[in-house]
Subunit: 250 residues, 8 copies
Amino acid sequence: MDKQEINALLEGVRDGSVSVEEAMLKLKMQPIREIGEYAKVDLHRGLRQGVPEVVYGAGKTPEHILGIARALRDNGQKTVLVTRMTPEAAALVAGELPLRYDALSKTGVVGELPEPTGKGKVVVATGGTSDIPVAEEAAVTAEALGNRVVRLYDVGVSGIHRLLSHMEEIMSARVIVAVAGMEGALPSVIGGLADCPVIAVPTSVGYGASLGGIAALLSMLNSCASGVSVVNIDNGFGAGYMASMINHLD
Amino acid sequence: MDKQEINALLEGVRDGSVSVEEAMLKLKMQPIREIGEYAKVDLHRGLRQGVPEVVYGAGKTPEHILGIARALRDNGQKTVLVTRMTPEAAALVAGELPLRYDALSKTGVVGELPEPTGKGKVVVATGGTSDIPVAEEAAVTAEALGNRVVRLYDVGVSGIHRLLSHMEEIMSARVIVAVAGMEGALPSVIGGLADCPVIAVPTSVGYGASLGGIAALLSMLNSCASGVSVVNIDNGFGAGYMASMINHLD
Amino acid sequence: MDKQEINALLEGVRDGSVSVEEAMLKLKMQPIREIGEYAKVDLHRGLRQGVPEVVYGAGKTPEHILGIARALRDNGQKTVLVTRMTPEAAALVAGELPLRYDALSKTGVVGELPEPTGKGKVVVATGGTSDIPVAEEAAVTAEALGNRVVRLYDVGVSGIHRLLSHMEEIMSARVIVAVAGMEGALPSVIGGLADCPVIAVPTSVGYGASLGGIAALLSMLNSCASGVSVVNIDNGFGAGYMASMINHLD
Amino acid sequence: MDKQEINALLEGVRDGSVSVEEAMLKLKMQPIREIGEYAKVDLHRGLRQGVPEVVYGAGKTPEHILGIARALRDNGQKTVLVTRMTPEAAALVAGELPLRYDALSKTGVVGELPEPTGKGKVVVATGGTSDIPVAEEAAVTAEALGNRVVRLYDVGVSGIHRLLSHMEEIMSARVIVAVAGMEGALPSVIGGLADCPVIAVPTSVGYGASLGGIAALLSMLNSCASGVSVVNIDNGFGAGYMASMINHLD
Amino acid sequence: MDKQEINALLEGVRDGSVSVEEAMLKLKMQPIREIGEYAKVDLHRGLRQGVPEVVYGAGKTPEHILGIARALRDNGQKTVLVTRMTPEAAALVAGELPLRYDALSKTGVVGELPEPTGKGKVVVATGGTSDIPVAEEAAVTAEALGNRVVRLYDVGVSGIHRLLSHMEEIMSARVIVAVAGMEGALPSVIGGLADCPVIAVPTSVGYGASLGGIAALLSMLNSCASGVSVVNIDNGFGAGYMASMINHLD
Amino acid sequence: MDKQEINALLEGVRDGSVSVEEAMLKLKMQPIREIGEYAKVDLHRGLRQGVPEVVYGAGKTPEHILGIARALRDNGQKTVLVTRMTPEAAALVAGELPLRYDALSKTGVVGELPEPTGKGKVVVATGGTSDIPVAEEAAVTAEALGNRVVRLYDVGVSGIHRLLSHMEEIMSARVIVAVAGMEGALPSVIGGLADCPVIAVPTSVGYGASLGGIAALLSMLNSCASGVSVVNIDNGFGAGYMASMINHLD
Amino acid sequence: MDKQEINALLEGVRDGSVSVEEAMLKLKMQPIREIGEYAKVDLHRGLRQGVPEVVYGAGKTPEHILGIARALRDNGQKTVLVTRMTPEAAALVAGELPLRYDALSKTGVVGELPEPTGKGKVVVATGGTSDIPVAEEAAVTAEALGNRVVRLYDVGVSGIHRLLSHMEEIMSARVIVAVAGMEGALPSVIGGLADCPVIAVPTSVGYGASLGGIAALLSMLNSCASGVSVVNIDNGFGAGYMASMINHLD
Amino acid sequence: MDKQEINALLEGVRDGSVSVEEAMLKLKMQPIREIGEYAKVDLHRGLRQGVPEVVYGAGKTPEHILGIARALRDNGQKTVLVTRMTPEAAALVAGELPLRYDALSKTGVVGELPEPTGKGKVVVATGGTSDIPVAEEAAVTAEALGNRVVRLYDVGVSGIHRLLSHMEEIMSARVIVAVAGMEGALPSVIGGLADCPVIAVPTSVGYGASLGGIAALLSMLNSCASGVSVVNIDNGFGAGYMASMINHLD
């Protein structure tokens, strides 16, 4: 509820068109719709934050995911992104709604992918092939939120020429998502080469002293390159969302 | 060295205006100037990344800082930002060069603060008063890189009304830097309120189980809000730099 | 064995109604009943601590759980709460004793839920829907111990208006249990809003840098709000028990 | 701002006694007073949460502490508790305001200690003598907030008879603060003996594998006793505040 | 090879009864027998350390365990203890050799349990019922190495009277093994009561902040009681072995 | 692309035999062949680093492994080492290509093992039998890269005579790979005995406080012996590769 | 208070020589003497545990230490061991009482060292020279408690011959204290050589990945040798006390 | 004592030139000389391991360092390397012995630097200027052990062109020491470029999430480049020693 709305409401009270009780109610009322007993969905988020509601699938039953997706669609949301979606949930949803499901990244898109509305290109790069599932979560998220995405996979720092042979893509990006496990050095090298913001995503790829991605995470937080910030381990969605937000700035 | 330069160089070789040896040299030559024996300074960085070279003062002697600042100034750089600058270094530099020094954040600016060239406003918010030194490092960095900065200090989540009374500033930001120690919850709440990117900065403020800022760092990495990414503990500079980069996107 | 009992015992010895040997025995005897070989059950706990014995089901076989529950019932305990109860244990117990089993929180109540005897209301709030199983363990525990419980689920800090729209419930609570995973910020915000004690329960909900709930735990321990204390990760029972104890204070 | 106030405000708008602009202002206005540039002080907290504002002295200059204390006193607050107060700050404040300063726990009380208003007694117990500074922070906090406090110091579990000889005090408490470093077992033993809530405070007392209090913290979080919750390492204030809150419940 | 043997060998060389080459060989020869390709078994260990070779079953196939047990028996060892023995291995070994297998602690004894040769009694105590498997590994180990064992199970510190009612057993022990998970406080309390060495065994019993037994381990290492030392998490065997070694000292 | 190649290229441009566009292309072109969409294989690595490309099997499907192996073979690589190869992948590859598969270490060698070209012997030692799978990964790696390997298994430091009886092998090594879990002390002892480089490999063998190999890793990093360096937990391949590199130095 | 004393007390009550009130008092009374307000000293500990009270000096003022030592002496204790004693405390105590102070280990002995009453010899060994302060704390503790001590310093595992040249001392020990920092491997090697109990003491000697002694601690907890148990980092006192207890077993 | 010496000894016993007692003595005697009471110095190490004894200065008094250095010189060792040497120790030693002291790396060389005897060049590279002290410890160590050293400082991965402009030095190395703090990515990039072994040295340079060098250490252990092994944080000496050992292999 923004300033104009409060203003209008108060003027309504002054001129009698709105009763005190109605105003009290409105001031308390939230643009939230409860779906069954299991979730509060924020239908106005598209207005407030410029992006539609996304469904985080982990820990939700296929039935819940379907219920939420249907509610969002009924409310007029054209594209519903579902992350961490199990194949079972995908099968259930696909039986009722138009769904594009990517089994590798466990990401589903209900409805049409929107036309790109971002200002430039989002580059998604990975250190190795094992990082691709996380990278795809970022890439599909960015696409579902209206961005053109360029994928640069398997360009890790131990073969630096692989990365250098893609300087053109790197220099043409408006924002870069750099995904890496193990030593997590990719964002530092890209951050030193690029002149745009870099979102670093550590992955849980590795073993032993990788500590489930902690090594890569620490590495990225300590990047000696400027213009690098970090999201949680394996959080491809968060990086894609952040990249989209940056790419849509006027 | 970009594509055009390589192109020009190769055409020079073809038409004989550049010898093979000269070309070889140029292909290897880097726009780096060695200052004494203690540092390689990247003079072309302003061109390549759109921002001038910054001096990270930690671990450098006052003499080194002065030497580097002078070299950058001689090379035509109008504003030289120095972070983690001790009062001793500030005293030495101020004796020779025009310096604005902020003792709280240990940040110095040699020369003039530039006119704001960023597209919008950078909001820098803190949870408590103890977080202000880190926040000021972010704020001065952003200002030195050409941004208008709005400061919202001491608006932590345990008194949520303090934050809510500043919704107007939050909604008018193009990018927000949220600085917090202890439980580090500020970026999550701001991330849920704002419709622009949020750069979260954990601080080492706290004691006991704050683990020198690790608690706040983990909290921010696990933010349930979208559009939040994180930099290292106490890394005000990194957040200010990232914010400036985002704020200067066309 | 309290002061009065020792007094009576000694007087019995003095007047000869109790022999030295009997007194010696009594002084050593404990109000503990061994059930088979697998557990010592504290039958007097209801008297001493004001609450009946609870069965912690983790690591116990269905047969053991049934045995302990039956023994408690035989001793006159009307309500037996069983936590961390597997569906298998529930099925076995339900065949012999009246059982209300909640599969989500894996909590069972043998016998009748008691009438609320607490002074006020216990509010149980969660940050997200995934925290509900832990919250239900707290809620059912509180109910089994004689409390009225108000549930406020999915009111996490990244959508602060969801929480603010329930200020009335928050302000009317006598004690609040705040359950959250990921960044664990909910107790800090509630602690700043409420004027009653808040028991914070971190959950293992999350991934990557949530470290199985450690991130939320640290966040809660570092809460900048006063009046917040913390129990172990996923320890809904402990929070519900503590809340009940507080709610029953005269 | 509670329901009645909003109601009154809206009725004022309706009958014209309050203009729309004034109402808008009031809806936004917060009961916060900015003191210089360094702090926002919450003057209404005494009303809202039932306890007066407390000054957390760590990281504040003596001048800031004096300024805040004077402002609170000017606002009519009779007792101002200052925690983590350096001797320097104490000396400065004592020059202007009536101060009781405890150098061991670094706690200061400006003005009179209030008459006890709590329902019962707060027992503060420690495992060893080295834990006393933290315990005193808890005890003085509780006293400053209107509680009778009973101190049981040096009753650690490796000499269990020391604790058992104080059963009477333990059984007569309305809430217990149990403070311990090293293995942190005291709250578990007390929790098993007492029939009231126990607030556990780990201290950083110890060396080596005590990890600055982490060992005691983990021990307390894993307590096998019910009715125990935990605050941050060395957070005597937090425990005393929580204990007071519980002790003042009707 | 001890001093006497070297002496005899050298005298043999001097008087010609042993050749230089033979002596060289003997000096290098080790009392180790290779069994197939998978293990070197130390047949002289019984002589050197006073206890027979024990088979650590984890990571060994049933066939390997059988092979080693048979080789030890063929070498004259009457009792062969096998720890971490799967039911499959037990079934295989029991088909060929006389085996007593305890499924709870996964411990097997091939051959006869020896007569107790230790000087006194080994008391094995646990905090809860879930710690019993680890305690039984300790108890069976001690029995297999020739000790009388007294078991005190489920005497954890949150019900201190349970422990105090067994003071007689505690005071009559020559060495105590104290086994506990969760907060791991049992050894501290026992260490304060007993006048004999206490071997503390943390167990991985617990959840959340128990960190797989790390909490109990740290607690025990920080014990404020003297005369307590610690073995690895769940290492019942190590504690039983150490206890036996102490109990067999002349 | 080395100096000579750049020289030749530039001379070609000068004399017109190479066009500017071709030169531009060559300067960017990398000796990398993309196989399907899933991997970039570095065919020139054999030339550049002296060792052929190795396939890290973890996280790759059997089909991917087969595809990469076939591509490397087609490119003329005689021996293809595959690490972390599942039995399923081995079965698939063995159906098409000549494969030697070791199920214990999950290592496969496609094609012939090369003749030893290393200067001396590589000794691979383990502390226990459970460390053998990791040791075999190191040993097979070294063999596949052209080294003679001597295996010394089960020579851990708790039976130091087992190690001392193999001094001859230790002293005759050119480089030693020392593999150990649990306390990880083997490399320290060997490092003190040997006069050649020692590569230490911690293994995840152990339980409880071994923390999945972290204990052994830390132990090795803190070795008081000189001439010891460390690779990741369970990284037999890395140690074998490093050993081969050292053993092939002229 | 043991069985005989309770018996006598009860008989006294029966025959009227002890009143009920007196008996009640005695049953509650503890053999503890409060010294000033700062410590409870257990004067009966010498009787109960066979060893006199020891003063842990850390965190105590010189005046407190002097006060406690004097009280113990007044109570008839001939030898008072003070650990972690600062030079300032030593100077103060030495002015009033006969004190032997070792500045290296910061250990003081007030009064005479007792005649050795232990059954055998306690061997104290260290890996390096930097571990000697901790070792001396153990050695002086053992001597103050009545043990003959043999010191074997600087016999670390990276020069295994240094240790092996002292086999005679190792084999003649009744209990061994093995002190080591860095990789902490000494107890494992000694544990494999000796046939008596080994108390392992990790020290904080080292840097970087030694993590203040955690590396050595973990190493010792994971020892592959049997008959090894561990005390806290730098806890020389604890090891010396445990060794003395074992050495005094009949 | 090697095989030939044992052989000769035994032949001496056989032919009567050596008595049994003398032989026994020799078999036990170690080539170790005790200096005062504070250190055992291994005078034969030069023979056994091919490198002279080095003095680790940390924790040693200036007097001890001087004593050890003098003893080694008296024994004929021409070059004595002292690491972690304080300026005070340097001043004392320089008063008596010829010393070259580097205050930056705190490294001293007593006597002449030897002529290079290594086969090739040792390259020592750093990520930043703050890593130089550790790098110099490695470089001086290598020089003191007879190696030519090439220094490449401040070539970190966030400005990859700085490193690439030194490809010639990298390709001409026989072994490389790569020193880096913060994200520790340098060894991975160098490991991918070079065809020789790389010794990675993490430094404690950084702040916050660098965790005193743990982030860099983990990063290096997880390097995706082959041919990289790691030493302890800040262990320049260990890396220089290992590099020298590799560089001296025939």
